[in-house]
Symmetry: C4
Subunit: 332 residues, 4 copies
């Protein structure tokens, strides 16, 4: 249970950083559901959307996994091919010249192959349309084939050139003693997590923002509140190694004096937003993540990801991103 | 009729936010025409434009509806095909080898199909050019076919990747009593409208600007004036749910003490400008809209679009964007 | 001749806005050559560039006129075709099956057409390669054809999607009496020019900057100096109509008390830089222009480009952009 | 050896600009390895990366040299062709109609050519698939061919349209007497290097940042420190000619009173970061470079790259970028 003082403190903080500016309203979170999914999308269902929307479909084709994308492309090719085959087969089976098979199944298969030769515009020509209907369908089919590959060209380029950061986040967020040599002597405890760039591209001008979200009892109604956590360093010039993002839990922090139990009770969620510039295309990228209270560890420190090779060259090992070491930590 | 005081007030405001900075000049609006169309474009006719401009054509092909675009593509294909057919037919009908039909019409049709097979580069080959003229035309035709599909590739990609927000706006803008628990106790009335994202993509860093435009009598000449309305919150981090944009009508507001009749007389128009970042391509998007005085409702409140599912998940229903509930409202 | 006072004044201004920040150094301009060309490019010759640079070539192909671009594309196609024809003709003329002509010229022409059928991948097939050499060349040729059209696709898209504003500038810049009703009662004279959008796209957040460049005698050496001119309004939200950009010539202006003769002697140049956002692709665009002292008119005013139609709709006539009316102007 | 005073000074500076904000941590540099490579990439090895990553591959294909890129494209084409050839050869050699050769090798070669004719969709048709297996494989092959060229289209466009500046940097950074006529009378010495644009495109709004990085003994442990050097002019509007970037070594500079020996001992590295806008696509570009202490020259001045032609036109000679002239320089 939170003390009266604590509640008062949180209320004060809230009034400085009004919740509504974060765009999530103030619906409560009693059901124990997180607000942001681990991939940074909002944990919200949308209904009443227009059923068919060309931009939504494009958006899906850009963002689905490569496996699904390839499956969609091949299915689309197969189905389009099949539809045209059926048209030829039922409207004008005998005007496709050059066929060598005779059973109905073989005939259909040969038409199917003719169709695929038209769709890809390979057009070997042994099989070729003679009648007006077959020629017209073939004309439309090869045109649609080209348009289809025009679409595929755009989709492939779109998938690749889309500005996305592949950031690695430490699996856990930790609260532990922390004393920076120069700055934060007055902050013996801090909230910390760590990121690094999973890709070879350069990330520059990297900025971090951490939002603390929790339930609050307002006149008997549970509301969801949001407040910004002040970071020791919120922007670095170049993400060459790893970056441990630190929120010092000093007297100004809303986490000050909160115990493990408190955070569970508040259904605490730490919402991370990283902004950077990808140097390949010089594009702004945004990356979101979230740590739910279950992913918080008390008393641990991150093991360094950086070592030196024999020749003195700096080496960073990406696999160590989540490696921590438990430490003694007597906390409230 | 506006009181002398009111006019003075408006004059004072105007001098703080000079009209000319909005780029619409100060031509009056006596004809009762809105300045911004509902789609955000300016309600202006342009004459004296260069008749043929390749960038204007491209711009049209990017922004017209999908139905029109597909119609244009197929027409273009058909017409190009036809032009080349006529060239073959009149210049070298007998050097197309492989023809099997004999009447003139059938011959033309077969040439038309040969032309389409060249344009799409399917080139089955039963029909093939033999003479120098036919071969030359065919060489140019297949090259233009490829260039045409190169163009189509760019156009398709351009149409899809163009940064556009599909925002849903509430049908009406309302003026009603409004009291935010924390902030605006001194503003019992507010001007409000509501937006949400119609698409699945994420909109972040969403900013709103509302411009109030009205006619003013300056030394007997009616001029059009523009002034910015101060918003309670003008930027949110994440448009996950809906956002009700609120302009508190307090003593500093140019709408203070204005009655329904006044706004009609002023031919009031509220010009909305929304700026956001589309997370898919991380592109800045701009969206404009406008509410004419006829779309203003006095005394109403928006019905919440957000509910909870049985499992506690947040649900937003896009169809409720314009749903309002009339409320008692005793106004000036 | 400039008075001592004037020179002193200019020196003072210069020290506030150091020339070097504009990137043109301080080489003099005694030869009477303008610094910026009318298309906004620098009037500078570059030598010592690497002779062959793939990005420079691409840059040219994106920025040359459409006529030149189409000429380049067709020439490239023709020359590539010719090269491969010569390869077939000299290495393996007899392994192209299906030839029907017999004279050497006809043979070469038929090989040329076979080559074009390979390059465009139309491949009718009457003419087809049989030997190993011919088949290999044909394999490379069709592959290069596809790559060529891949390039063309990118170039076409690049040309269209490149952010360019087509701004219309008034032919002349004018100095004339100017009194804005509200603001600049103290500035009876102003430097003015006018712009409008030549295209259908929307330009928003339009900013203007005007640089005054002139020769100055520094200890007997003529140097080129640059100074910023303060504008009455330097940014508008929306370029829906035309925009007259005004620099009031008050006591703080470097143009204060300068006569026509003075500007000629200084070889005055006004360098214009316009920054805006093109709403179609939401791209930042930059546009530069320059007025040389010969393009300055003393005592004139711009005729309005805006009229009202019978139905009250606002009409803008782009052809009027440069229309001025001479006015009486007694100046220094 | 550094004096105690000097060390104290550096410590003071450091505390104002904490090292950690530059993203390189504070690992020492005792091994004498530079931190930034000359091409601006970080001199760091990364291990533990996922072995296969589609975005990393794409990133490589965008950034490798043209020679390598063309080699990759042709190899890919050849290998794909070969794989399909082997499939036909082992699964269905006799269902490819139209073959004219008889030895096994010739048969394989002819199948190989058939395969290439399918992959490029040229499909002459003399060779054509008849059986179900061959037809199916051919259908997939031509589809994959088209997808492959769709990929190539995107890659080619990506390579060209990628925002990259080709900046020329002077080979050396120099420390020499420097007195700007107007500004820096109090800075008789300065650190200087020079840049120019190697390409024809226009670079505007060019900004420079110089970081000084050095080893520091902190309680007996060598740590790497970073501090910003203040520039005389850090932004110019237009990079039309060359730009000499100047850091005045006055009392506020961390280089004040440092001798050649000191910089060697500190393993000094000057990290350069240039930010500009490329006017062709109006894209922000970032360019990094670094000067190691070995590339520093004491007492020299840059020879001007700018001359005038006979007609008075300004000429810039790119080959002179690194030309310096040694000067007398009595330094600490």
């Amino acid at each position: 249970m939170l003390s009266e003082n604590r509640l008062k403190k949180l209320n004060q903080l809230l009034n400085q950083n009004p919740a509504s500016e974060f765009g999530f309203g103030n619906t409560s979170n009693e059901s124990g559901q997180r607000i942001l999914n681990k991939d940074g999308s909002a944990n919200i269902n949308r209904i009443g959307e227009p059923r068919f929307n060309v931009v939504n479909i494009y958006h899906s084709l850009i963002t689905i996994s490569w496996t699904k994308f390839i499956f969609v492309v091949f299915s689309f090719y197969f189905i389009l091919n099949l539809i045209f085959s059926l048209l030829y087969y039922f409207l004008c089976p005998d005007t496709i010249a050059g066929m060598i098979y005779t059973t109905e199944l073989e005939k259909f298969l040969e038409i199917f192959f003719f169709s695929s030769q038209s769709l890809t515009t390979v057009g070997y020509g042994r099989l070729n349309p003679t009648g007006i209907i077959a020629s017209s369908i073939a004309g439309i089919e090869s045109m649609m084939g080209l348009l289809g590959f025009a679409l595929a060209t755009g989709l492939l380029y779109g998938r690749f050139s889309r500005p996305t950061a592949k950031l690695l986040y430490s699996e856990n967020i930790i609260i532990a003693p922390y004393a920076h040599p120069t700055f934060s002597k007055e902050a013996p405890t801090a909230l910390m997590f760590r990121i690094t760039n999973a890709r070879k591209n350069q990330l520059i001008e990297v900025e971090a923002m951490v939002l603390f979200s929790y339930n609050q009892n307002v006149n008997g109604v549970i509301q969801r509140k949001f407040t910004n956590l002040k970071l020791e360093i919120s922007k670095i010039n170049f993400l060459a190694l790893s970056w441990t993002i630190v929120h010092p839990i000093n007297e100004e922090s809303p986490l000050y004096n909160l115990a493990e139990k408190d955070l569970e009770e508040l259904e605490a969620e730490f919402m991370i937003s990283i902004k950077a510039i990808d140097d390949t295309y010089v594009q702004q990228i945004f990356n979101r993540n979230s740590y739910y209270w279950k992913e918080l560890i008390w008393g641990a420190k991150f093991i360094s990801m950086v070592t030196k090779s024999d020749t003195g060259k700096t080496i960073i090992d990406l696999k160590k991103i989540s490696q921590i070491e438990k430490i003694e930590f007597e906390h409230a």
